[in-house]
Each structure stands twice: as C-alpha cells, then as structure tokens.
C-alpha cells in the first residue's frame, strides 16, 4: 500500500480535546520531598496514619528503580521538576449554574457532559425528580470537584466519594483495604503513587446491593507540569454488583506529563465489578512532541467464591502507555476478564496487557486484546497467565490480534504462560496482519471511501471488545477509533 506511506506524512488529525481551562489553581512548589508530602497530607486534612503511610511509601520509592523491561523509550523523567499538588481554588458552593465558573462549565460542555450533570458536577443542587442514570465523580486535576448522586446512592448504602473524603469519613474501610491489592512496594510507580496521591474515587458497595446506576469518573490533567496521581479503591461486598466507568481527556501542551495512577478492586463472594476505561489523553503531536506518560497499576482481587472482575479498556491516547489491568483470582470459581483495544499512531508507544493469577479452584479467565498500530508507533501486548498448584481445573483463553496500518509501525506480542497445575488448561492464540485487501476492495466497490472502509474494518476488528463497554461508552469509543486513525490511510 504505497498510498499509505505517502499519506503518513500528511497525518494531522489534531487533538479534539486539546483545550486548557483557565481557573485559578492552588499549586504546590515543584519537587518531591518529605515536606511536599506533608503539605499534600495537610491540604487533604488527613489523619496521622495516612501521613505516616505516605512517608513510608516515599522512603520505599527512593530505594527503588524505574522499571526498564517494557518496550517503551523516553528521556529520563526528572521527578523533581513536577508539581505534586494542584487544586482549583475553593469557593463557597454555588446556588445555581449562573454562579458557577463559566470556564468550568465550558470545559464540561467540551467534554460532552449533559447539562443536568454539569450542574451537579459544579455542585448545584439537583432536582431529585429528574435524575440521569450516571453518577459522575469528576477529578479535575487533583481534587474531585464534585461528586454527584451521592445521596441517592447513600439510600442503598453505596458510598461513592473522593478518596480524600473517604480517608476522613470512612477511615476504617480505607485502612482495611487500601494497599492490600497493590502493595506500596509493588513497583516503582505504585510506590510513588502511595507517597503523593492527591485524589481519586472511593466506592463501597455493601452486601447484596446492586448499584442502581453506572458510576463514572472523568479524569483530567489540567495544570502545567503537574503529575497526576490518582488513587481509586472499589470494594464490592458479598453479592454486590457495580459497573464503573472512567474516561479521560487532557488539554494539549508540549511538555510530557507524568500520570501514575493506582486502581484497586476487591470483590467478595458472588460480587461483580465491571471496570471500563476510555483513555484519550493527549498523545503528543505528529512528531512525537509532548503527550502524557501513562504509567498505571490496576489490579483487582477476586477474593470471594464466584466473584468476578472484568476490565474493559479502549486506549487511544497518551504518548506512552504502561498499563496492565490484572486479576488475582483467589476465590473458588472466580472469574477474571480483560477486553482491550489499544490504538497507537504517530510516535505513540503502548506496552499494555494484563495478568491473570489463578489461585482458586475452578477459576476462569478470558483475555481478548486488539492492537492497532499506525504511523511510526509501537504497540505491544504483554500479558501473564499464571496457574498456581492450587488452581485445580482452572481455565484461561487468550486471544491477541494485531493490525498494522502502514509499514513504519511495530506490533509486538509478549505473552508469559506459567502453569504448575496439570488440570489447569491454558490456551493462547495470537495473530498479526495488515488490513485485508479483499475486505477493503469489497467496501470500496460498494462506494465507501477508503477511510470509511478502514473505519468499518477496524470497528469490526474491535467489536468483540467494544460490545463489552456500557452503552454510554461504546458509541464514544467507536467515534474515538475513527478520530484516532483519521488520515492514517490514504
């Protein structure tokens, strides 16, 4: 496809969500030391035990080294050249939308948040009769600006709030679970996160409760040079059910930004957690300048029998993605799922996949990964399936498919399969190919432009994953795929 090569030079899809909101920020000085950590803890009005935990994590982090095994390449990160705390300046709660900072509202508009939700997000009292069915916790830089629907969730006993609030209001729950799935010393970035995390979501679904609505968070990185360190903790007690959505967009800027989030999920007996992500942070420009470094540790523990954790991700953004949402399947007959679409263009680098650690008898896992590389990007699937001696009768099936668009990109598959139980069955399949010429020809013959044809084929290629997304996200994700690949084919 020589036309593809020619078109590569003219790729310029721009970044639709590249705006920066001008709101007064409360900013900590650059650098990372114990004083900054004390400052973060003080700003968050945290109890003493949290500060101790942070300082311990910080000293742990100082002893560790950045991991080098991923297929990503970037200049060394100067951790002293970042702001570790940024928060919009606090104002008394507005009475109506008119009193809300118009900049904030404009941002919500650009994010496509429905008007009613915008009001709630901005902290305006909502009309209880007209509730949309999504609760949104917007993380605007480091502080959750507002948490919606808390009351209606509270009626059924669901706690959904910023984690900083949970530390103050539900300290016992936080202490019981925080850091139990992703320990501080798990890896370099999780240690850093444990030391400096500023906000994120906390969600607790009590026994037997089916969360009445989809829970959702919008993450944005807004202030210049602010590393964003989110911390999310979701606990589903026995028989509980929750679906959580996370969507990301970030303003356009030149310097690379570090994002090192930690997400922990805990599912008890018969509980189900569904965690969906659409990640569309600024990927850098067509010359590979700028963009987000997304170094994320996401892990779920299926602690109870028949518990289930399902990760679905659509990754189109970030300059570098280093992300392996994992499941530790401890409970008997527990289930782990990982559905992923990763698209890379220009100079993006993605090293993403999952880990399925089978401990419980009869535990099952499914991995479906679709990688699409275009431009000069590199897209790696890296995954581990481990069957421990106790995982009698466990099952895993993995399917990894890669699609190459253009001859300057790379697609890589690196699965690790480790089994120590003969009755456990592991199956892994992977394919790499370019877009089928015949399919393209068929579509073109029926009057579709080449770009539309490629979009159609790519959407078909990803369908298995996209259908796992909640409705609200599925449509957005499809559009995102089209926008991300705009101009990649000639």
């Amino acid at each position: 496809m020589s036309t593809t090569t020619e078109a590569l030079d003219t790729i310029n899809s721009g970044y639709k969500w590249g705006f920066e909101t001008d709101i007064e920020m409360d900013l900590a000085p650059k650098g990372l030391n114990e004083d900054i950590i004390r400052l973060i803890s003080a700003r968050k009005e945290e109890p003493e035990w949290m500060l101790e935990g942070r300082l311990k994590a910080f000293s742990q982090w100082q002893k560790m080294a950045e991991p080098v095994w991923a297929r990503v390449d970037h200049p060394p990160i100067d951790y002293q050249d970042l702001h570790y705390y940024a928060a919009p300046k606090k104002k008394p709660g507005p009475k109506s939308l008119d009193e809300v900072d118009p900049e904030l509202l404009k941002m919500y508009e650009k994010l496509g948040i429905p008007l009613k939700e915008r009001a709630i997000l901005a902290g305006v009292e909502a009309d209880p009769d007209e509730r949309p069915q999504i609760a949104v916790d917007a993380v605007f830089d480091s502080v959750s600006v507002a948490t919606t629907f808390r009351e209606s969730l509270a009626k059924v006993g669901v706690i959904f709030c910023p984690i900083s609030e949970a530390v103050r209001d539900h300290p016992d729950l936080v202490r019981q679970y925080l850091g139990t799935v992703v320990p501080v010393a798990d890896n370099y970035f999780s240690a850093l996160n444990a030391a400096v995390f500023t906000d994120g979501s906390f969600c607790y679904i009590p026994k037997g409760v089916r969360c009445p609505m989809e829970l959702s968070t919008y993450f944005r990185i807004n202030a210049r040079n602010t590393g964003q360190f989110e911390r999310t903790l979701i606990i589903a007690e026995a028989g509980a059910h929750v679906s959580y959505l996370e969507g990301c967009t970030a303003p356009q800027r030149d310097e690379n930004q570090l994002h090192a989030a930690v997400v922990e999920l805990i599912a008890m007996d018969d509980a189900t957690i569904k965690y969906s992500t659409v990640q569309n942070w600024y990927p850098g420009d067509e010359n590979g300048r700028g963009g987000i470094y997304n170094f994320v540790t996401k892990r779920g523990a299926c602690r109870g029998a028949r518990s289930k954790i399902s990760w679905t991700q659509v990754e189109t953004g970030s300059a570098i993605t280093w992300k392996y949402p994992s499941c530790v399947l401890i409970g008997e007959d527990s289930v782990g799922e990982f559905y992923s679409v990763a698209v890379t263009t220009h100079h993006q680098q993605a090293d993403t996949g999952t880990k399925m650690i089978h401990i419980g008898k009869g535990s099952r896992s499914t991995i479906v990964s679709k990688g699409i590389s275009a431009g000069k990007s590199n897209n790696t699937y890296r995954g581990l399936v481990r069957m421990l001696p106790s995982a009698t009768g466990a099952r895993n099936h993995t399917q990894c498919d890669s699609l190459l668009i253009g001859d300057q990109c790379g697609a890589h598959t690196v699965p690790y399969i480790e089994s120590r139980n003969p009755s456990a069955k592991v199956e892994h399949e992977a394919t790499t190919s370019k877009i089928d010429e015949e399919k393209l020809f068929y579509c073109r013959q029926r009057g579709l432009s080449e770009e539309d044809a490629v979009n159609l084929i790519v959407n078909g290629f990803c369908k298995e994953v996209l259908k796992e997304l909640p409705m609200e996200f599925a449509v957005e994700a499809q559009k995102l795929l089209a926008v991300s690949l705009e101009g990649s084919v000639g």
Binding site: M1, I405, K434
Partner: protein, 395 residues
C-alpha cells in the same frame, strides 16, 4: 593435564587465565569474551542481576559446582556416510561472525575456553549425506566445543548430533552455521545427557536466499539444559524450521529458546515445540519471531504445547512476536494442560488398559512434532527413544 576449577564464574575466569597462552586462535577474541563473561556472569548464578533471556532458567547449580577442565575434545565425528570435508577447531581456530559472546553469557564462556570442535564444509551443489557427531561427557569435566557448518550454494547435508555421558559434567557447545543460497541443512539433535549433567547448546544459523535450516531437537537428558537457537533469514525465500520435543522427569529443568529473525522478504518460519513433563520437572519454552521493516510477505507460525503429567511439574512458556513490517502473516499458539480425560475414557471404554491408553495419547501428542523429521531412519530412532522414555516412566 587437567585443571580443577574453583566454583562459579570466577572459577572459569581463573581457568582461562591459566590456560590462555595454550588456547588456539585469536587471543583478542578470547580476552573480549572473558571481559564480557566477567560482566555477564552465570545467569542466576551469584548476583541478583536478572536478564529477560534467562528469566526462567537459573544457573545457580552450575555456579555451585567445581568443574574440572580436561584437555580432551570429548566428541567423535562419523563421516562414513558423508562426503563433507572435516577439520578440527583445534587446528583451524576461526571464530565466526554470528555468535554473540557480548550478549549471551554461555557463548562468552565458550568463546573464552573453547579448545576443539568439528568444522564441516560442503562445497556448492554437493549432497554430502549424513554426518554424525557423538559427544561424551564424563565425571566433572567442563567441555566447551566450538562447531561450525558451512554449506555452499545448493549444498545438502544431514547433521545428526547425539550427546550422552556419565556424571555431573558441563557440556557447553556453540555451533555456527552458514547456509548458502538454495542449500539445505537438516539438523537433528538428540540430547540424552546424564541426568546429573549440565547441557547448553547455542546454535547460530544464517540462511541465504532460498536456503533452508531444518532443525529438530529431542531433549531427554540433563539436570539443567538449554537449547538456544538463533536463525537469521537473510536472503529472500529462506526457510527455517525450529522444532523440538522435551521429555522430562525427576527434577530435570530444560529450556528451549529460539529467535528467528526475518530480515528479508518472502521468508517462512515454522516451529512446533512440545513439552511432556513428569515428576517435579520444569520445562521452559521461549520463542520469538522477529520481522524487520523490509521483511514484507513474511509467513511465520509457531506452536508450543505442554502436557503436564504430574501435579508437581511446571511449564513456563513465552512465545513472542516482534513485528515491524505490515504485509505479514504471523501467528502463534500455546496450550498447556493434562491428558484429555475424554480421550482417555474413550480408549478405556474400548478395553485399552490405562497405562497403554496414556502411552498412546502421549505418543500421539509428540507425533505432531516428530513427524516433522523427514529422514525415516532418524525419525524411527528418535521414536524408539521416546518409547523407551515412556516405558521408564511407567516402570
């Protein structure tokens, strides 16, 4: 004359210092290799340094053994069925360009201490029949043979290597293979070392346009063993087969690692590797298919399967695709499990005794790999070895 070594990497380095003036070949290459080995050490040996290439295989037991370096060649070459020209590395000590002592620790060790090896040459257009190389390990000897095979354009050769021995010796061979345009090398290896021995075989093959490297390794022996194959498909339409089977029991550990590098368009690579693991054994498979930017129309396929016969056995498998060209067809598959209960039941219900039924199924599992050996006599010889292995398991 023989030298009793200290343990660990230091032991080998000290041995090199004592022997180096007597070793054949370019001393600069030797010194460079020694410097690399000093840096790399024995993987998993003493330092905490971990390398991805040796993720699943630790050489700590090698590092803890005091070997003896004898001045013997340790192998016989049978040329009765071949017209290939043969010379010894001891007399013609040339270090070829393919091996990577700078990167691969066991190759650095070999390059530092290699004293002898078989050098085989087949001129253009000649079918040189079958060459057989038998190696014999003994006691606590450390052997580092350096073999080389050169096939001229259109040449054909079958190379059969059989490794046996008694004792807790170290057999650390490096083989460099150059396959000319349209030439065809069939490389069959039977690794039937002593159960107390350490066996490392690192093979580097370069295949020119239209040439074929057709390799098969049957791994039965060794306490810790590793077969490491690097094939470079550097000419158009070149073909590589890197097949193998590992049958392990007791506390054996065997690692089968391969990298095929598609560097030219229209090349084909095929790989089927089977592990049958009994007792407390551990099988490792690492296979990578690399496709370079220019290697359009690459066709790569890789399958690795493991059968765990015992609750204490372990398999670690890492099949990898690394692709930089877009017009390619590459796939790999991996399965891990035990004998199929339904198939077993089917055979039992037809009156086949359990042990026989299991033997049939294990044999059927291995046949897929074994059938890829095209030489009938060699295939049936390997088949007998497999049957014998199974009989010993059942006994």
């Amino acid at each position: 004359m023989s030298i009793v070594q200290q343990t660990g990497a230091a032991g080998f380095l000290a041995c090199f210092e004592t022997l180096k003036d007597a070793l054949p070949g370019d001393p600069v290459v030797r010194e460079k290799a020694a410097a690399a080995f000093r840096l790399l050490g024995l993987p998993g040996g003493t330092s905490a340094r971990r390398s991805e290439a040796w993720k699943y295989t630790s050489l700590r037991p090698v590092a803890e053994t005091a070997f003896m370096t004898p001045v013997v060649s340790g192998f016989d070459v049978d040329l009765s069925a071949s017209t290939a020209s043969f010379s010894r590395f001891a007399e013609n000590p040339v270090f070829g360009p393919l091996p990577r002592p700078d990167r691969d620790p066991m190759v650095a060790l070999n390059t530092m201490l290699a004293e002898d090896g078989a050098i085989l040459r087949v001129p253009a257009g000649v079918d040189a029949g079958i060459v057989r190389i038998d190696s014999h390990g003994n006691g606590s000897h450390a052997l580092h043979p350096r073999h080389a095979v050169h096939l001229g354009p259109g040449a054909t050769l079958v190379l059969l290597e059989i490794a046996t021995g008694t004792g807790g010796y170290l057999h650390n061979a490096v083989t460099e293979i150059a396959i000319g345009a349209g030439a065809h090398l069939t490389h069959i290896r039977l690794q039937d070392e002593s159960r107390d021995a350490f066996h490392f075989a690192t093979i580097y093959a370069d295949v020119a346009e239209g040439g074929t490297y057709d390799g098969f390794s049957l791994v039965l022996g060794g306490r810790i063993a590793r077969t490491e194959i690097h094939v470079g498909l550097t000419g158009k339409n070149a073909v590589a087969h890197m097949n193998g089977a590992q049958l392990l029991t007791g506390t054996q550990h065997a690692d089968f690692s391969s990298i095929v590098r598609h560097a030219a368009p229209n090349c084909t690579s095929r790989q089927t590797v089977k592990n049958v693991l009994n007792g407390r054994s551990r099988g490792v498979f690492q296979g990578r298919i690399e496709v370079a930017r220019d290697a359009q129309k690459t066709d790569g396929y890789q399958m690795n399967q493991a059968l765990l016969l015992s609750p204490d056995a372990e398999i670690d498998s890492k099949p990898e695709l690394e692709i930089f060209a877009d017009d390619v067809k590459c796939s790999h598959g991996a399965t891990v499990g035990e004998l199929d209960a339904e198939q077993l039941f089917y055979l039992r219900s037809r009156g086949v005794p359990e042990n026989e039924a299991r033997a049939m199924l294990v044999r059927a599992f291995l046949t897929e790999a074994l059938d890829l050996v095209t030489n009938d006599a060699i295939r049936s010889m390997l088949g007998e070895k497999i049957d014998l292995w199974w009989e010993r398991q059942a006994a």
